[in-house]
């Protein structure tokens, strides 16, 4: 589904065929995103020759690649939810704040359990379910504001983004509570068959959501709402229900990401948990080629966008550059990737080869 255009016109032969193939490959989103990831990994390899080395230490795989995947997991979850939101021509600025709220809820409840509370809803399993429920409620609030009150997504989610961190601080009473419970910690730092557990979570959610939207009509409906919600409504699509659904899903993804982050450090920091992660998630989705104007979406490529950002950061950590330059390099690389994907920029660069680019139109 993501590689459309690559197999176009395979029958043509000779120079013309190669040219057509080159053009169709270069207009494929997978090509440009993949190229960006490839170049960044290549640079990483040049910085550190043993970048791809993976060793087994204490039954846990250790290496830069494992770290990239592990660090990517919460962002990948956010990006999956965000992709569907953006596909409906929306945006969810609140995911970072929802992460903070959910981390605060999970840790506050689990602390009650550790203190000896015996009610069933303090059991770790229920705490996880309750946390996911809280994420869903946050998403529901966004969805209702957007679908039924018809607010602009950027404003509606800005409300929760601004207020959400206040709510998280309210829940933890301004503290950063810590916990020791193994079940909750496992979500963030557990290891199964040598691989960190968050990677499994992100992978399972990616597969599940992909199947959900591509093996049912849901993906088509989401794209339809994103292109024109009024026309979709007249065509008999429950546009409002679709919108609510994507924000709820985004909230659930943020809840899981919040628990991963809380589990990693065994604490919930209402100020820092998920801070600016909504920006990184949106960035990843855009790098993955999903337009902020809604319509076509690319789940797999969004996750690839997350990997691009994380591979770049991993390269920076192993490089000899001073950590203060991280943000500058990030800005430059992100801009380069975005320009690489901008057709206007490619046309601008390829002016001498104007013939080729004109034919593409």
């Amino acid at each position: 589904m993501n590689v459309e255009g690559q197999q176009a016109n395979p029958a043509k032969s000779g120079l013309e065929g190669i040219k057509t193939l080159a053009i169709s490959v270069s207009s494929s989103r997978l090509f440009w995103t993949g190229l960006a990831l490839f170049i960044i990994l290549l640079v990483d390899l040049m910085i550190s020759p043993n970048f791809f080395e993976i060793r087994l230490v204490n039954d846990r795989l250790v290496g830069s690649i494992v770290n990239i995947l592990d660090n990517s997991a919460p962002y990948a979850l956010l990006a999956i939810g965000m992709t569907l939101v953006i596909a409906t021509k929306g945006i969810d600025l609140s995911v970072g704040a929802v992460m903070a709220i959910c981390a605060a809820v999970a840790v506050t409840l689990i602390k009650q359990y550790e203190a000896g509370a015996t009610e069933f809803y303090y059991q770790p399993g229920f705490v996880i379910l309750i946390t996911i429920g809280v994420g869903a409620i946050c998403g529901l609030w966004n969805g209702i504001l957007i679908a039924f009150l018809n607010l602009q997504p950027i404003i509606a989610t800005l409300i929760l983004m601004v207020a959400g961190r206040g709510v998280a601080q309210l829940i933890t009473n301004g503290q950063s509570p810590t916990f020791t419970n193994d079940t909750l910690a496992f979500i963030g730092r557990g290891v199964v068959w040598g691989v960190p557990f968050p990677i499994y979570i992100a992978f399972v959610v990616l597969i599940f959501v992909t199947l959900l939207v591509r093996r049912t009509a849901l993906g088509l409906l989401i794209e339809s709402v994103g292109v024109n919600d009024r026309a979709s409504y007249y065509a008999g699509i429950q546009a409002n229900a679709i919108k609510v659904f994507v924000y709820v899903l985004s909230g659930v993804c943020a809840a899981i990401a919040g628990m991963i982050v809380a589990g990693e450090v065994k604490s919930a920091d209402p100020h820092k948990a998920g801070l600016f992660s909504e920006l990184d998630a949106i960035l990843a989705v855009v790098i993955g080629g999903t337009s902020l104007l809604g319509g076509r979406f690319y789940l797999f490529l969004s996750v690839m966008g997350v990997l691009i950002i994380q591979s770049m950061l991993a390269g920076l950590y192993v490089s000899t550059l001073h950590p203060t330059t991280n943000l500058v390099v990030k800005a430059v690389v992100v801009l380069a990737v975005l320009l690489l994907q901008s057709p206007e920029f490619r046309r601008f660069i390829s002016q001498p080869f104007g013939k080729l680019s004109r034919r593409r139109r």
């Binding site: 601004v162 959400g164 709510v167 301004g174 943000l327 975005l338 601008f348």
Partner: protein
């Protein structure tokens, strides 16, 4: 009264109500002291909010303002405090850098069709990153010029202080209102935000206007950074993190529609003063914990957009029997 003034009026009513409530609890709100402090403390982000109003009226968004303020502060502190530059030339150099920075973002947005959200997000990372590269620790500025600026102050009979920062804020406000409503550029900004296709057909230079809008926003953010540097007499790369959200919230509370085409500079000013009043009240009260301010801003945002929605909906129309332009804006967006 014209319908487009309704959100503005509501903003003002909320401000007045909030201020009166604060006055009823603390009589010091009646003195020029608090008024002077309100203007002084909110001058820097108020100036940035005026720039943001132009951007949002044009249908865009600028996430980079907080980072630009931080970069400006560090740059000034480094050059004046450490390298011994003269303040005035430093400010001129910094304002030039800021303007070019904004213009570059405008060009990325117009010529390469990178969405404003993403282009200015890269700007956020870049400016903050450059601030870290320049210095990660706070730098003090000891310069006679800074001392003399801090002495420029008008003292009211009741010891209220009208400082340089407050004066600069009001001057920028008046220039902003003039530019928005009485110049060709101002009209172009509204035209681009209202309907950029129609604006193009009417001969509005979309590209130049877009570049100028973002240049103006960064210019004002740089100015805000300079004002902050003058009042703090130091530079720190970690200040103003997330300030852009407060700025955007103030612009929206001030009655500017994020869809573009509708909004007033004065509304933003009143909203900045409203948020400033809440902040001052919470500080004076002391019994309310600091996170309540975030929740209050959230609630205010919610009530304002709700109100705007009501005004632009069909029922709201019948209720007030006007408000056509809101509806048109929504449909074109």
């Amino acid at each position: 009264m014209k319908s487009r003034f309704i959100p503005l009026l509501m903003t003002f009513i909320v401000f007045a109500a909030m201020y009166l409530f604060a006055y009823s609890r603390f009589s010091s709100f009646g003195s020029m002291r608090i008024v002077g402090n309100l203007l002084r403390d909110n001058a820097y982000w108020g100036i940035a909010a005026i720039g943001m109003t132009f951007v949002i009226i044009s249908g865009g968004i600028d996430l980079s303002v907080g980072s630009v303020i931080a970069f400006t502060g560090v740059f000034c502190a480094l050059m004046i405090g450490r390298n011994g530059w003269e303040p005035i030339p430093t400010f001129i150099v910094m304002l030039t850098i800021g303007t070019i920075f904004g213009a570059t973002m405008g060009m990325l947005i117009h010529y390469f069709k990178i969405p404003p959200f993403i282009a200015t997000l890269s700007g956020l990372f870049l400016a903050r990153g450059m601030a870290y590269v320049l210095s990660t620790d706070s730098i003090r500025i000891d310069h006679p010029f800074y001392e003399s600026v801090s002495k420029i102050v008008y003292i009211f009979p009741d010891k209220g202080r009208f400082t340089f920062a407050a004066g600069a804020f009001l001057i920028v406000l008046f220039i902003g209102i003039f530019v928005a409503h009485f110049t060709r550029f101002g009209r172009n900004v509204y035209a681009v935000g209202g309907n950029s296709d129609a604006a193009l057909l009417l001969g509005v230079p979309i590209g130049r206007t877009t570049v100028m809008i973002y240049a103006l926003s960064s210019f004002l953010a740089t100015l805000a950074g300079i004002i902050l540097s003058l009042s703090k007499q130091s530079g720190d790369s970690t200040i103003a993190v997330g300030l852009e959200l407060d700025v955007i919230a103030a612009v929206v509370i001030g009655g500017t529609l994020l869809t573009g085409g509708v909004g007033y500079i004065i509304g933003t000013f009143i909203a900045v003063m409203t948020l400033g009043t809440i902040q001052t009240y919470l500080t004076l009260d002391g019994s309310l914990t600091p996170w309540w301010i975030k929740i209050v801003i959230g609630v205010l945002l919610f009530s304002f957009v709700g109100l705007q929605k009501l005004l632009s909906s069909r029922r709201g129309l019948r209720l007030f029997n006007f408000g056509r332009e809101h509806n048109e804006v929504q449909q074109s967006a």
